[in-house]
């Protein structure tokens, strides 16, 4: 039977473009859907112990029988719906949601690298899982109260603030701003009102270097980022210095760290993901977060790991 790969991504996603260049080179048969994917159901047949799904999206017909591998990378999946204003609106919504859930389940049964279901994992939960696995994390406080914050700063001396979960740009006066991790000092605290919107604070770790680790099927592709000597990137390496870029070099994770990370990834049901860690001045490994759909290109290219090629081959050879 025809082996087809279904990829859902963004047109501007560099990491998937790199993989797709390899798929083209290997002359693989694949369907690429970009951006917001609206599925239109042609038919779903459930009879005589077999299930057939025939869908349409972006004028492409997708026959689930023909799809051997599904790789979800970016973008939303939803059902194509007409704008309706009649008594059936809510009824149709529920019907569509049930269909969508079933379609995603069926697609995820064929998932490789990433599926759709486990792409957004609560970061508080991740931290909880890390401490249960005996991985160190930064002391963390989520609070709405200046009083709590003041005593947290007293105990931890230097602290940072970062999003609890969201990673979306905020547009102010037409300019997109990312809320990068920032230092938070005594003056900042004194500028706070007594009560504020729930905000996350963490103890600031004196880094030796940061780690960005791409994990795929129990293999680790780790990179050390020497962001510490550069004042721009000291607190958040994404605040790139284009003139004197940070050194990003291959890193070999110690066995016990690998085994703890494998446990976390298994519990999160992730076949792949980008893991952020810090190695502190004492050589301790500190877990920050997992991003299920991280940009592996930023690890693969400087370390020459060839991850794009590895993923392409996995998709083909499945």
């Amino acid at each position: 039977m025809n082996k087809k790969i279904l990829i859902i991504t963004d047109d501007a996603d560099d990491s998937s473009n790199l993989v797709i260049n390899w798929l083209l080179y290997f002359k693989a048969d694949f369907i690429r859907l970009n951006g917001k994917v609206d599925f239109e159901v042609i038919s779903i047949t459930i009879e005589n112990s077999r299930i057939k799904l025939l869908l349409k999206s972006q004028s492409t017909i997708i026959n689930l029988d023909e799809i051997s591998v599904f790789w979800y990378r970016r973008g939303n999946i939803s059902m194509l719906t007409d704008e309706m204003d009649n008594p059936f609106v809510n009824y149709c919504k529920i019907e569509n949601n049930a269909l969508l859930e079933f379609i995603i389940t069926k697609l995820d049964e064929k998932q490789m690298v990433n599926g759709y279901s486990h792409t957004d994992i609560n970061k508080c939960q991740q931290l909880e899982l890390a401490i249960k696995t005996n991985l160190k994390i930064p002391n963390t406080l989520i609070t709405t109260s200046k009083k709590n914050l003041t005593s947290f700063l007293d105990t931890n001396k230097t602290i940072i603030t970062k999003s609890i979960h969201a990673q979306i740009p905020i547009e102010i006066a037409g300019i997109s701003n990312f809320l990068y991790t920032s230092d938070f000092n005594t003056t900042d605290v004194s500028n706070c009102s007594d009560y504020f919107f729930p905000t996350k604070f963490q103890t600031k770790i004196e880094k030796l270097f940061e780690l960005r680790i791409f994990y795929l099927d129990r293999k680790f592709y780790a990179m050390a980022i020497f962001s510490q000597t550069n004042s721009r990137t000291k607190t958040d390496f994404r605040n790139y210095d284009r003139k004197d870029p940070n050194r990003n070099i291959p890193f070999k994770l110690p066995k016990q760290i690998k085994s703890k990370l494998t446990t976390i990834m298994k519990k999160l049901k992730l076949a792949s993901g980008s893991i952020d860690m810090i190695v502190d001045k004492d050589g301790e490994y500190i877990f920050l977060e997992v991003n299920p759909i991280g940009q592996f290109g930023m690890v693969s290219i400087p370390c020459n790991y060839g991850i794009e090629n590895i993923i392409a081959k996995k998709l083909i050879e499945y």
């Binding site: 083209l24 030796l208 020497f226 050194r247 070099i249 291959p250 890193f251 020459n304």
Partner: protein, 363 residues
Amino acid sequence: MSNSLEMKAPFILFTDCITVKGVNRSTILDLTRGVYYLIPNDLWSILNKEQGNTIEEIIIKYGTQNEDIVLGYFEFLTKRELIFFNSNKNLFPKINLKNWDIPSTIYQAIIDFKENFDCINFDVFHSLASLGCKYIQLRFYKNVNINEITEILENTVGLNILGIDLILKKHDGLSISELKRINKFLNVNNIFFYNANELKNDQSFDTKSPFNIYSFKDDISSHKQCGNISSSYFNVNLSNVSNSIKNNSCLNKKISIDSDGNIKNCPSMTESFGNIKTTRLESVVKNEKFRKYWSISKDKIDVCKTCEFRYICTDCRAYIEQPNDLYSKPLKCGYDPKTNVWDKWSTNPLKKRAIDYYKLNDI
């Protein structure tokens, strides 16, 4: 004694910095920052044999009479952020530079145009794209007007080609303002004018244009002008270095069509693998003879293999010092790794026979 240096901590050379040993001196290639440093071979030895040791230990080993030299080396290495200090060297494996690979059968192409364009079948762009070609250089050895240029570029629309460079002759029938008509071809990266009466890098004639314009005074009458080796062509980045370690830095995954339609590795070479009118590029690239130059890395080329610049330098197989020896040094290289002197290649008496052979006297 320097007090800014960490004397008691084991040092490690950042692994994105590669040392290359030459016969008389060496280089450190900083692959992340795109620069290279010339270093004495003594420092090459320290970097290759002493990593994981402390500066204090190295001074003891090399003798206190050399202390100032060793300290000078480490001040330089620290200042340029080429080393760091960590007691566990094993955590930092080297970058694997031997696995260079790209998803393209052909990556770059050169197409030359002279008298007429009849010999080019414009299906050639489709063939190139399907072979994975990402960069194409179109070189015109005659006066062309804007209509002729856009007509050719129309054939590249919708193809997955990332960059096109145009090499054009400056003449009265082609004005800079007409180049606006090229704006719609988003994959045009650079336009080079030769035979220009003024040397000007006019990059902002139209802010909407996706390409840069460069002008040269020289008249480029033919492909014989190609193949110069110069430090200005050095390219320090991971992909190029990795390719050069394994392959020929000029010809790997390159295909060319000369102005008569002959399919070649490079227009300057004599060997043709058929004419584009009758031969498909897809069949040429399968030919082992066509690919034979691809794997001639600098490590296999006489003289170059002893040169400290070998992984950042360009190469030329069209004009070589011994025309009958595939592995001889590029003719148009005036550098001698033994003396570290760059001389003019064209006046070197030892190269006279090869210059006569290729009829390069009047270039």
